[in-house]
């Protein structure tokens, strides 16, 4: 048994009678290296750990009450204080029959290997070399590259143990590595930016060359960009943008948002909410998905959940509490933001069933429109409750089925509801990016472009 699981077991053993207790114990080891101008600008490396405790006071008919506390330490005395605080906090909650801790549901976890043992053995010097090479590659790729504002290597090893008095015992560990680079291209007084990424479970999965070339291409092809004229048009979104859009839409697929009346999908199961070509699943059991996981944040097995099938809304994602409130069971979809957060339902690996066209084929099929390579203001301009959608965009016009002149300082707007009903093409180019949703090229008709 890992030391984390042993600690979790010991904490659960200390539960009082008349209460249920759940403990989430996490430890992470992070390395971050930033290269700049041929040197290491910063290197940081550290281990951090902590605990999140939920105590449920059994209130019988009236309902249960839940309290939470966390601490950024695994020291016995600190953990004991967190348990006492969680217990005290529970006494103030409103009794609620839906409140419960997860209990084993018989679903077994997928066999996923998310731990690359080579990461732990990779010397820091090799990681430094990767970061330096990434920066060098971008600087040397094109005379128009003026600056590399950041070239980062990062990796993470995370271990999580969960145990509860309701019989939950889970232990997960995963590694991840990433490269990210931001380039600034210039010509005369014109300046444009572009970025590139590469992610994987271990250093050998990384593709620094592709990340570098991506940053170079994306920044240089924007040189000369101007505002486009306002009007309605078809918009083709780059895979990275689509990953972001799906993440926002996932907020409306949360069972908690639905039961609390904060989702535009509420009450619409069985209805046609998207074009018939749209099939959307959340599948954390897919080993290729960045967010692949064996267990959810309450210790239940992650599973594949169909959300939209043939354009028809099929269901929502639930954790234990939102599932009970909706008269359903957990779909194994609890997520939490580390030991300092409480669980709630959410996506880990949302993906659209791919179409038949790659990006070039899709642009040819669209013919005329705007290709959006990046968006800004997603948190300020997209509302998963109302569905209102308005984002800043930059990209290139599509003319005669290919990419034409660059465009900046415009917005594209619609509503999420209308966009789902206006999907013209779904790309075949699934790309797993850091985050909770896959990227793939997507064409959406009837968007309002606002510019000059």
């Amino acid at each position: 048994m890992s030391d984390l699981a042993a600690l979790a077991e010991a904490v659960v053993g200390g539960a009082h009678s008349g209460e249920q207790l759940e403990v989430y114990v996490a430890r992470g080891h992070d390395t971050e290296i930033r290269a700049y101008d041929g040197q290491i600008e910063s290197l940081s490396s550290a281990t951090s750990s902590g605990v999140g405790v939920r105590v449920l006071l059994d209130g019988g008919e009236e309902g249960n009450r839940l309290g939470f506390a966390w601490a950024g330490s695994l020291e016995d005395d600190v953990v004991a204080v967190a348990v006492a605080e969680a217990r005290d906090n529970a006494a103030y909650a409103t009794p609620d029959p839906s409140v419960a801790l997860a209990a084993p549901d018989g679903v077994s976890a997928a066999e996923l290997d998310l731990w690359d043992p080579t990461l732990e053995k990779t010397p820091t010097d090799s990681k430094v070399d990767i970061a330096l090479a990434l920066e060098r590659q971008v600087r040397g790729a094109d005379p128009r590259i003026r600056q590399v504002s950041s070239a980062d290597y990062g990796d993470q090893r995370i271990e999580v143990a969960l145990a509860s008095t309701t019989g939950i015992r889970s232990f997960t560990r995963r590694t991840s590595v990433f490269l990210s680079v931001s380039a600034i291209a210039g010509e005369g007084s014109d300046t444009q930016t572009g970025s590139g990424f590469s992610v994987g479970r271990g250093p050998s999965d990384l593709d620094p060359e592709r990340a570098a070339l991506d940053a170079v291409e994306r920044s240089t092809r924007m040189l000369g960009a101007e505002k486009a004229a306002s009007g309605r048009c078809t918009v083709v979104f780059d895979p990275r943008v689509v990953s972001t859009l799906l993440s926002v839409i996932s907020g409306a697929l949360s069972g908690e948002a639905v039961v609390k009346g904060r989702s535009f999908f509420a009450g619409r199961v069985g209805e046609q909410v998207a074009t018939p070509t749209v099939t959307m699943v959340d599948d954390p059991t897919d080993p290729d998905a960045f967010g692949a996981a064996r267990y959810d944040a309450e210790g239940l097995a992650c599973r594949k959940n169909a959300l939209v099938q043939g354009g028809v809304l099929a269901g929502f994602l639930y954790d234990t509490v939102s599932g009970r409130r909706a008269g359903r069971v957990s779909t194994g979809s609890a997520v939490r933001g580390g030991f300092a957060g409480t669980p709630g339902p959410g996506c880990r690996a949302l993906v659209l069933e791919p179409g038949s066209l790659d990006q070039a084929g899709l642009l040819a099929a669209v013919g005329e429109g705007l290709f959006v390579q990046s968006v800004t203001g997603v948190h300020s301009g997209v509302n998963p409750v109302s569905g209102d959608f308005s984002v800043g965009a930059e990209g290139l016009m599509i003319r005669g089925g290919t990419l034409a002149e660059p465009v900046r300082e415009v917005t594209v707007a619609s509503t999420l509801q209308r966009m789902l009903q206006s999907i013209l093409h779904i790309g075949s180019d699934i790309e797993w990016l850091p985050g909770i949703a896959a990227g793939q090229t997507l064409a959406v008709g009837d968007m309002q472009l606002s510019g000059s």
């Binding site: 910063s42 904060r262 800004t376 203001g377 301009g381 917005t411 707007a413």
Partner: protein, 452 residues
């Protein structure tokens, strides 16, 4: 400790110790759902060698834990001068928490009453209010910074906040309204803050949008209400004036000191000393006293914002803008309270003298690309201006502009003024900031609505 960190050589070593306690509560769907408490203690150790920074952190504040972190941080100093170094530290200046009523001394039940009151008031504001979430949070952050230059400084920062988010449901779907108060003060803020008013503002914001029409698209004159967000300046030029972007030539404001970069009406100040504002502190996270810095004076750029690392390069002093999210993060240049000084006009007159345009009563978040200057900011409450009068409510949208262009287009400034709290995200770190501005008019900015 500092000596150990410099054992292998290096120009500067720094220890940042932090002890943070938080408590929070959420009322949602008419229930007190969650009371939480958290505790985090640890130290971050930084060693700077030439252009390279090594960093490590630990939650183990014992001598051996700190020495291990110091050794890890100094690993970057592979070929430094080395040798034993002793550091004499200045006498400490004790700092008292500026909170009159420490939130930890207030009974949990008392804090929960605020939330129940907010819920009742919001729901009674209109029958169409279908959901209310009210959140309370406080934190006490005690920090100590010592570095090998002999600096020793401490601060004790207490912050308290309350937020209300309402959903209103009508024939045309749902809309959301949000309002919050957040101060660098203790529980005494509730002697002044009218919780009912906060709830009513949030509720009315959602209710008014039920009747809202789609925002226009294209370039329009925009009047921003006093205190509507100030986020405009935070994004349009604040980030671009952070020295870390400047030294990397990644800002449109590089080389512009002494130049006219904005309308002569614009005097922009960043001021960490404004007592009680959300971005207020006594010393920054590098131990420098908070300061008032004039960034733009009557349209002329006077200075950038600096931290230790970037000011050292220029042989000048830090401006007190070195901040970090926690002991687990490296400090970087961050804003504090950034605001535009008030003008002389009457706010109502400014609207009356705007034949047609958009009136923004409340802004949401924003985002900027400092290298190109393009930025977006979202509306949370906006209206049409027709014939010099504020008329119909508009649905949420982003506005997009280019920093230097928009700053030149400010042609009216009122004598009213207000600040708003916000959370600023940069390079993965969040810090509390304040933004402020009087009522002002921009002659033209692109709004990204769906109406043609």
């Amino acid at each position: 400790m500092l000596g150990a960190a410099l054992a292998k050589g290096g120009d500067m070593a720094e220890v940042f110790a932090e002890d943070r306690q938080t408590s929070g509560a959420v009322l949602d769907d008419r229930r007190i759902e969650e009371l939480s408490s958290g505790r985090e203690r640890g130290a971050g150790i930084r060693v700077v060698v030439g252009e390279t920074t090594g960093f490590a952190h630990t939650a183990d504040l014992s001598e051996s834990g700190l020495l291990a972190a110091a050794e890890a941080a100094s690993a970057v100093a592979r070929e430094g001068g080395g040798g034993v170094r002793t550091v004499a530290l200045d006498a400490r200046r004790p700092v008292d928490a500026r909170a009159r009523i420490l939130p930890s001394s207030v009974a949990k039940a008392t804090k929960l009453e605020l939330l129940s009151r907010a819920d009742d008031t919001a729901r009674s504001t209109g029958d169409a209010i279908s959901q209310v979430q009210a959140g309370y949070g406080d934190s006490r952050r005690r920090i100590l910074i010592a570095n090998s230059e002999g600096l020793l400084a401490e601060d004790d920062q207490v912050r308290t906040r309350l937020s209300v988010v309402c959903v209103a449901s009508g024939d045309a779907g749902m809309q959301t309204g949000h309002e919050s108060v957040a101060r660098t003060e203790g529980y005494e803020i509730f002697e002044r803050v009218d919780v009912d008013e906060v709830a009513r503002v949030a509720a009315n914001r959602a209710l008014s949008k039920l009747l809202a029409r789609p925002a226009p698209s294209g370039e329009v004159p925009v009047v921003l209400a006093g205190g509507s967000g100030g986020i405009l300046f935070h994004e349009a030029c604040g980030h671009g004036l952070e020295a870390d972007h400047i030294v990397k030539d990644a800002s449109v404001y590089v080389g512009q000191v002494g130049e006219q970069v904005a309308s002569p009406l614009v005097t922009l100040v960043d001021d960490g000393t404004v007592t009680g504002e959300w971005g207020n502190f006594t010393v920054d996270d590098e131990g420098r006293p908070a300061a008032r810095n004039v960034l733009i004076d009557k349209g002329v750029l006077t200075d950038y914002m600096w931290d230790w690392l970037r000011s050292r390069k220029e042989g000048r002093a830090s401006s007190g803008n070195g901040r970090r999210q926690s002991y687990q993060h490296l400090p970087m240049v961050r804003m504090t309270n950034t605001f535009l000084l008030a003008g002389e006009e009457d706010p109502d007159e400014i609207v009356a003298q705007t034949p047609n345009g958009v009136y923004v009563a409340k802004l949401g978040g924003g985002q900027v690309n400092t290298a190109t200057g393009d930025f977006v900011f979202g509306t949370m409450e906006a209206y049409l201006i027709e014939n010099g009068r504020i008329t119909e409510p508009l649905r949420d949208a982003n506005l997009i502009g280019n920093g230097p262009e928009v700053l030149r287009r400010i042609d009216a400034l009122a004598h009213d003024f207000d600040m708003t709290p916000g959370t600023c995200g940069k390079d993965g770190q969040s810090v509390p900031v304040g933004c402020g501005q009087p009522t002002l008019r921009i002659t033209g900015v692109t709004i990204g609505g769906t109406a043609a």
